[in-house]
């Protein structure tokens, strides 16, 4: 009853093309943002900020990056962690080597560096696609991590390539507590999600989707393939780069190149698949799901095993976790290829029709 668009007439093009055309969505979004920006910082505990909320936002941003590439432009990438690494190390170096550079500017520049690397490794996509491209992005994954480990310049001559992030301040406000970090990350993620959403529904996004759905047809109708694909790589890597910088600066505080492993790339890919391929909302849902599932399993599995009198070790938790991740991927690919985001969409459609299902 509450969620119904009847009576909401669009009288201008502006009203017709806004992001949330239904008034209830707009109110809901405003409420959500108010909660995220005001209520949560006032009420949340330090553990929640540093162990759950900040990584959730950072991974959501990285998943958004991969979603632009895989979900919208249809190019598979297994190297997202490498682009995150580029972003993290670039931001560190900009902070280190340029006196008084604003934090946000260094993040933007770090994103640009990641975008450049992304375009470089995206070049093969002009000639190849599918699995071949996956191998090309794997090359980026291994090569970037190796370079960051072996060339000590990137980590300011730290022997093992570990970087500790310097003090951060945002236009004079020191970002030193988990709450401040959370609000800072939230702000960046909101702006970038808004940009991504608009990109996806503009001509850029339509060009990506055309290339994804059928590249030959896209070229026939005049979409420049090369530009479109490389732009997708650039935007995707930019997002991953900023996510990497946030990962290093606001989440961990100190990272090493090996932290950006293939495993991290896979986790981000899983977030995209489970959350919803080709959906900005899906990136958030997937990130929350992949992040919360291990915590949930840690809580649930040991008592369950005790109940059934099964032998149980910490190793089995991680094995079962792997199995559940793998099983869920297959499950979602078979049953709901558009992921959690699609489930949400179905709920909304049902609500619109409620209480009459037809």
């Amino acid at each position: 009853m509450l969620y119904r668009e009847a009576g909401q007439f669009k009288t201008s093009y502006g009203a017709d093309s806004q992001i949330f055309p239904i008034r209830q969505d707009r109110i809901g979004m405003a409420l959500l943002l108010a909660v995220a920006f005001i209520v949560v910082p006032l009420t949340g505990s330090e553990y929640w900020f540093s162990a759950i909320l900040i990584p959730f936002l950072v991974f959501a941003l990285a998943a958004m990056g991969l979603n632009v590439l895989t979900g919208y432009a249809g190019q598979l990438s297994l190297g997202s962690a490498a682009f995150m690494a580029v972003g993290a190390y670039a931001a560190y170096n900009f902070q280190l080597r340029i006196e008084g550079i604003p934090l946000v500017l260094s993040f933007i520049l770090a994103g640009c560096c990641a975008a450049a690397v992304g375009v470089l490794f995206g070049l093969p996509s002009l000639r190849i696609k599918g699995f071949y491209l996956a191998v090309a992005t794997l090359a980026a994954q291994f090569f970037v991590v190796w370079v960051l480990t072996k060339f000590a310049w990137f980590s300011n001559d730290s022997s093992s390539g570990v970087i500790s992030t310097p003090k951060m301040d945002f236009f004079g406000i020191a970002i030193n507590s988990p709450v401040k970090k959370y609000v800072f990350v939230l702000g960046i993620v909101c702006v970038m999600a808004w940009l991504a959403k608009n990109m996806a529904r503009s001509s850029t996004g339509r060009a990506w989707m055309a290339v994804r759905d059928m590249d030959v047809a896209a070229e026939v109708i005049g979409i420049p393939l090369m530009k479109t694909k490389l732009l997708a790589f650039a935007v995707s890597s930019f997002y991953c780069g900023v996510a990497g910088a946030l990962y290093a600066f606001c989440y961990l505080g100190s990272v090493e190149p090996d932290g950006f492993s293939l495993d991290l790339s896979f986790r981000i890919l899983f977030m995209v698949i489970i959350g919803g391929v080709g959906s900005i909302l899906g990136s958030f849902l997937g990130s929350a799901f992949i992040l919360l599932l291990p915590i949930f399993l840690d809580q649930v599995l040991p008592p369950l095993a005790a109940l059934l009198h099964l032998p149980f070790t910490n190793a089995s938790v991680s094995h079962i976790q792997l199995m559940i991740f793998g099983g869920l991927i297959i499950f979602f690919l078979i049953v709901e290829p558009h992921g959690l985001a699609r489930l949400w969409q179905i709920t909304k459609e049902k609500l619109r029709l409620w209480p009459f299902p037809h």
Binding site: I128, K129, K150, A315, M323, F325
Partner: protein
Amino acid sequence: MQFFFEVAISGLLSGLMYSLVALGFVLIYKASGVFNFAQGAMVYFAALAVVGLMDQGLPMWAAIIGAFVIMLILGLATERFVLRKLVNQPAITLFMATIGLSFFLEGLGPLLFGGEVRAINLGIVDEPIAAIMDGIGIGISKFDLFASGMVAALVLLLALFFQKTKVGRALRAVADDHQAALSLGIPLQHIWAVVWGVAGFVALVAGLLWGSRNGVQFALTMTALKALPVLILGGFTSIPGAIVGGLIIGASEKLAEIYIPPVLQDLFGGNFGGIEGWFPYVFALLFLLVRPEGLFGERHIDRV
């Protein structure tokens, strides 16, 4: 010069081991068009099954047969519960499903058979053969020679299977054209089951060889990652390609590991080991730009 040959030969021999994993990829790709990322996990799983069954007190030959049966069941289950449901989906979806499968197996294996590192002893020692060592002064390990013998035997066996048996012919028919094979009355699903069974068998052989050389451990799953550049180089659909690709990748990565770091060290200073980790990929990538279908691959390829 002798050192160069020694490095090259050891590289070639370890490359044969990559070929073994790559063969599993090629078999499945040829017959079903699925790029099976889980091949490395299957190698790990098979090796774990062997040591797991031996832990239960079975003799080695029985454990190997038992592991083979397990791999067959696994292949059938994969076909039944994953692939059959994803028929007609884009290839990239199937690829992601096999990533899921690989995670599933990586969790299931240690859960069933225990995750600690164990050794498989095939009874072949990893030491240079004295006669060759004395004759031309190049050390060739007995184990490497044995492994390459196994690979050769396996390839011969597969070639016979594909060329001489009825099932083999049906497999090739399916590989050429699913629809035409179906309309000739070849049951596609049986064929896929056979293919997964064969791939499981190849994974078992690879698992035994890799496991007895490096111990049965999680790192075995990484063999799949080494096999990817081999495939790119050799072509996705070619068994000889997998062999030749493996040899080239094996030799070139060992040579790169020996000869490139000193050059970098002169230029920049510091330690630059570990080139092995990415060299095959970059090499395959550059090759891809020149010849996208690989050395022996079919010329038909998704070009854009």
